[in-house]
Subunit: 369 residues, 2 copies
């Protein structure tokens, strides 16, 4: 094992002091530009890598952030992790992951564990229905603009509005909105946005999956076919996961999408561009959200004082616009509103040859294994 070289090795090699080397490399103290160049060259030549441990001990900063995703089982986790890691790396920070094991209060424990581990700050994507207690440490919350204490997040309300407008423009007038549980700010924002964008005379049915499953057991049918009988022509799910569930349930019942009804989702999860029909959905700008969250976090860590920048903390945090991804699953409302369907309606069964998917802005589906 080659003993990693340190500042004093470089100092010795050049006959200068360690402090000078440190100053030259960090550009902080007073070093002649001439000598600084020599030192930097020598450092590169020898392949010097600073010891984070030494630096951490000296400065009291670990250059590491903690990432806590409460619902770690969420399909969006990879995107979050990647975006956060990128943004953090760009700022010179590493990312330590924390697991809350899905348990409800383990979230706080996870945060504390990360702080004990020396994380300079924490990024949290909290579990629905929980509030992040104010630790005495820098923290950034990614949740929803309507959540107090939110640092940055997608503009879920606006995302919902885009979906609502899209479906309205296609002529739909009777909607079903599919959500999971009513204590999620993210979902409520999305639903609020959808509703707000629908025309006055629209009829809206609201479906909470959690509620349904409590009654009928997990994995139960959602009973979407009955809704179609009541005239619903558009199903707006609050997540692609629920949209997927809707699509398969409908297709299994012989309903054609988007011939008979339209289905939309949220989040552009990995399979959205792969299933048949491909799914119309809303995509978050993860990279931007991560950037904003990390920037805020670093400001807290390094800024020290709060009143910096003239931006103490805006109420709802930054709201990043979402992007509408139009794919095959949404189409014009059927000319004759489906209405009562007498047993087995004649439905288009083969609209799979829809031609090329020009609307799909995703650049090469990355569904690798």
């Amino acid at each position: 094992m080659a003993p990693r070289l340190n500042l004093s090795d470089i100092a010795k090699a050049l006959g200068v002091s360690v402090a000078t080397v440190s100053n030259a490399l960090s550009g902080k103290g007073r070093v002649s530009e001439e000598l600084a160049r020599v030192i930097r060259a020598k450092a590169k030549e020898l392949g010097y890598i600073p010891s984070l441990a030494g630096r951490a001990l000296s400065t009291g900063r670990s250059q590491v952030l903690g990432l806590v995703l409460a619902d770690i089982g969420h399909p969006l986790f990879p995107q979050f992790a990647q975006a956060i890691e990128n943004a953090a790396a760009a700022a010179g920070y590493g990312v330590l992951i924390g697991d809350s094991r899905g348990e409800i209060d383990a979230q706080t424990r996870a945060i504390n564990r990360l702080i004990e581990r020396g994380a300079d700050g924490i990024v949290v994507v909290p579990r629905h229905g929980t509030r992040i207690a104010n630790i005495g440490h820098p923290i950034a919350v990614i949740d929803s603009p309507s959540t107090p204490g939110n640092t940055a997040s997608a503009d879920h309300w606006d995302g919902g509005a885009q979906i609502g407008a899209h479906l309205s423009a296609l002529g739909h007038r009777s909607f079903a909105i599919i959500g999971l549980h009513s204590d999620s700010n993210v979902q409520n924002d999305r639903i609020g946005g959808i509703k707000a964008a629908l025309p006055r005379q629209a009829r809206v049915e609201l479906l909470w999956i959690d509620e349904l499953e409590r009654k009928r057991g997990p994995g139960a049918e959602l009973g979407l076919l009955r809704l179609i009988d009541k005239g619903v022509t558009a199903f707006a799910a609050v997540s692609d996961l629920h949209a997927l569930r809707a699509v398969t349930e409908l297709q299994r019942g012989g309903v054609s999408i988007p011939g008979d009804v339209s289905v939309t989702g949220f989040d552009d999860l990995i399979w959205a561009g792969v299933i048949a029909p491909t799914l119309t959905t809303m995509r978050m700008n993860m990279a931007r959200i991560a950037e904003l969250a990390i920037a805020d976090l670093i400001r807290q860590i390094e800024g020290g004082r709060d009143s910096e920048d003239g931006v103490p903390h805006r109420p709802g945090g930054h709201a990043v616009p979402m992007e509408l991804i139009i794919r095959q699953s949404s189409g014009p409302a059927p000319a004759a509103p489906a209405g009562k369907r007498p047993g087995g309606n004649p439905r288009r069964a083969d609209n799979q040859a829809n031609g090329s998917i020009l609307e799909d802005t995703r650049e090469g589906t990355d569904h690798k294994c």
Copy 2:
């Protein structure tokens, strides 16, 4: 900001030396049990938290592992991350994530970045078709038993065999296997296992999605209906993602699952228990795999010598059995082998009321949002 207390605070409070406190807390040097108890009590009373930075500098160990998932977009990422984090935490290690941005050679760079950051060891789930170069650092590879250098992984071959046996037992004789690309050891193991478990007279068609998409464009139809015409009654996909694609394509074509054909996947991804029909699939024992990988890694880190334990490094690493999850999407082969279907075959359209899903061992589907 309360300046975090350190060993010398405790030492001062008790009138002993720091070394004694350190020894008492770590249980290493020579301290009377009596004094040790007093010290531990005082430490707990004051809420002492050791400084990782100080320890790291002194010992040369950061107590942090790096996790590199090449295909970070993979839906399995959350499970992996969670399992690794749990196993690492149990061993007193933190987990730093590394991102290879999906780029092909960035994998090595990601590994190096983590090592530079001070990670004591690295866990890699490599990208298909890549070999992990031997860094001079402890590393654990989670890939496939057939991969040289593999540390621990699911027994993909055996998993395939279980799927093959399951479908065979259901009476199927004509199969289509759906894979993504042929340079993945994981996929090849699974496919090999499937084939090996099929009866002698079985007919097998092999489908590579990557190849198909290169010709017909991304998101193209897989042409599964034509395969049914050729007599195929069972589609075994090498990942739930592809199984999902198959299911939607088939349902869209009016094919009943599992009435007309059976479809199986791999990995038990989050939606497998949610779509209609729920998906028969193979589940990895992530927790076990992670444990083994971490254990091996820590042995490398702390063991020092290789010839420890009498287990230098077994060729294929540990192969952890997979678990067959039988759900709705697989059923008996149709009595009359579907054979040529004249235009629109009469197919069962409503088998959704399959009753309760007794075979589903998943304990409460965690498709939260």
